[in-house]
Symmetry: C2
Subunit: 347 residues, 2 copies
């Protein structure tokens, strides 16, 4: 949450969907596109990933108003090979392009067992876990990635040439919690460094470098410099591979060719994504998968906790628990986001 | 290298291949299986990855002799869906099973654009980069993973229930160096902790935990404990996802079901692997790919180095340079490995 927890308000999923839909309809999006967009952004809020949820109305709205994003994209879906789909997003809102790609990849994977959709001409597509969840609910395992605006220096380099590209994996658990991993390649998000700076605290020298590429414990220097990837050269390698698959192979922009939506909000970003989907129904019965997934989760969670106050966790567990709770009790939203949605909706 | 660099000897690629082949033939492997195995292990040595090269004759040989690995596997290749291949390795030597899976996946990817092979009933399959290179040379991008014996505790847990599973990516560069990433999920290899212990040095508290799961700076305690994954919960999540794809979905063993080849060398390990292959020729011409890959590499390598003595690197660069050099000048091998090969070969 961007604001203090106490200031947040609760809103039901239905109310939030309705409000979000009206806001984006007023911004010029078509009905089906609005449905897809709201599916992803509201799921992000349900998961507690509020920085990637409807708070994005701020940047999406600004860019839609000045023509930086196309509200009525003519998205092209091309079959490049029986199981490869190429998507030209026509500079549409990211989750609209993402949902089209996901659906095309699921369709082709139903037919061939595995398929990939490569999307170009896109924008920020939200978090990955909502796509992985939609896929898992239909029995698909997934590997999904996107490139992003540059914030990471090449390993050994001294300027930002690589995005903090997210990579996600999902594996369905037919009778239990799906396993969902959604991660960016930096040790921490910039927000965490910003918070340390505000509190006047030093940061570990593994979080970021100064503007010359040297590791630093000074949060101000790190904010002027670059995020450090997890595991040093390993995270750098991963971020680079995600950009190769999501950007280069998809015929989108990559590395420094990606326009920053902050520096040039009126320009198309030409972001790229990839969606690899595998139909687990081809691998065994639902019962087979269910028994194995239950056993897998039990083995991990039966490990005695190192600290008894912190139980063992598995990827997706926290987000799925939050989703269940917020579907029941309402979604915690910042008043600023709700106000902005209401302004756009014309309330 | 396991021995001091000065003690290593140079041997030509052809001589090493011939010696390696004779050793594994004497251990009972069939001719084609020996070819495949030697392709992978010699390429590991050419890359400088000697711990994953022909030095493995030690463990492979021990296990072949006592029936822990099947020298004459009847490998089954089954089409589970048009673009999904299921491989039953019949407890063959890992690289033999791996090569069969890679070839089946490349064949299906030629037909459908993308394909996946899931292998079960396998053993240690060497490093990933040789498979990625073989694929890249034929124009395939790849995502390849394997599970492994347990050395990592679940995040927040206190006993080893998860392998340090390797994950690899490859993207072909038709007129330049292919991009190859081959990484395990631990911050460092156990060997690095062992070396610190031998030198009487402390280790950073990010490398491993003690036997109770608490981070430690004592190398002895870390050797009795568990490796820590890169980026904490992120690397844990990645290791777990690799096991889900390589082990659980492939119908192989996973997590603690995997037999340790050290504790039970006479038992089948039932390791699993996955090979996702994408035919880049379906995405654009060789010239299109070549221009983009060259541009991608140039953007990264043009970043001014933070330390002028350490130029910017890209994944695979070091290994491919080493391969080129060693193909010309001979391969650096430890005398122990050569002696063992000669013993098995009956010289």
């Amino acid at each position: 949450m961007t604001t203090n927890k106490n200031e947040n308000v609760l809103i039901s999923e239905l109310e939030l969907r309705t409000l979000g839909k009206r806001a984006f309809q007023k911004l010029g999006l078509g009905d089906q596109d609005v449905e897809d967009l709201i599916d992803i952004l509201v799921m992000a809020d349900l998961f507690g990933l509020s920085t990637h949820g409807l708070s994005r109305i701020e940047s999406y709205g600004d860019r839609l108003k000045i023509g930086g994003i196309n509200p009525r994209p003519n998205i092209q879906v091309e079959r490049l090979a029986p199981a490869i789909i190429g998507i030209d997003g026509d500079n549409g809102v990211g989750p609209v392009v993402g949902m089209r790609a996901l659906e095309a990849a699921m369709d082709a994977a139903s037919e061939f067992g595995i398929a990939v959709a490569f999307a170009r001409g896109s924008n920020h597509f939200g978090p990955i876990s909502p796509y992985s969840l939609i896929a898992a609910e239909k029995g698909f395992a997934s590997i999904i990635g996107s490139n992003a605006t540059t914030t990471i220096a090449p390993w050994g380099g001294s300027d930002a040439r690589l995005g903090n590209s997210p990579l996600g994996f999902g594996v369905p658990n037919p009778d239990g919690k799906h396993f969902l991993l959604d991660m960016a390649m930096s040790v921490v998000a910039r927000a965490k460094i910003r918070n340390a700076f505000k509190r006047g605290e030093q940061i570990p020298n593994t979080w970021g470098t100064d503007a010359k590429g040297n590791p630093t414990t000074d949060p101000k220097a790190a904010l002027d410099g670059f995020l450090l990837p997890i595991g040093g050269h390993k995270g750098y390698g991963l971020a680079l591979m995600v950009d190769l698959f999501a950007g280069l192979l998809s015929n989108a922009g990559y590395l420094t060719h990606i326009q920053s939506w902050q520096d040039a909000p009126d320009k198309p970003q030409n972001l790229g994504h990839f969606f690899i989907l595998i139909d687990t129904k081809r691998l065994g019965s639902s019962q087979w998968l269910s028994e194995r997934m239950l056993d897998f989760a039990n083995i991990l969670m039966d490990s005695p906790p190192a600290d008894s106050s912190k139980p063992v966790i598995v990827p997706g567990m926290i987000e799925l628990a939050k989703l269940e709770k917020q579907r029941k009790n309402g979604i915690e939203m910042s008043p600023e986001t709700l106000n902005l949605l209401r302004q756009y909706a014309g309330d």
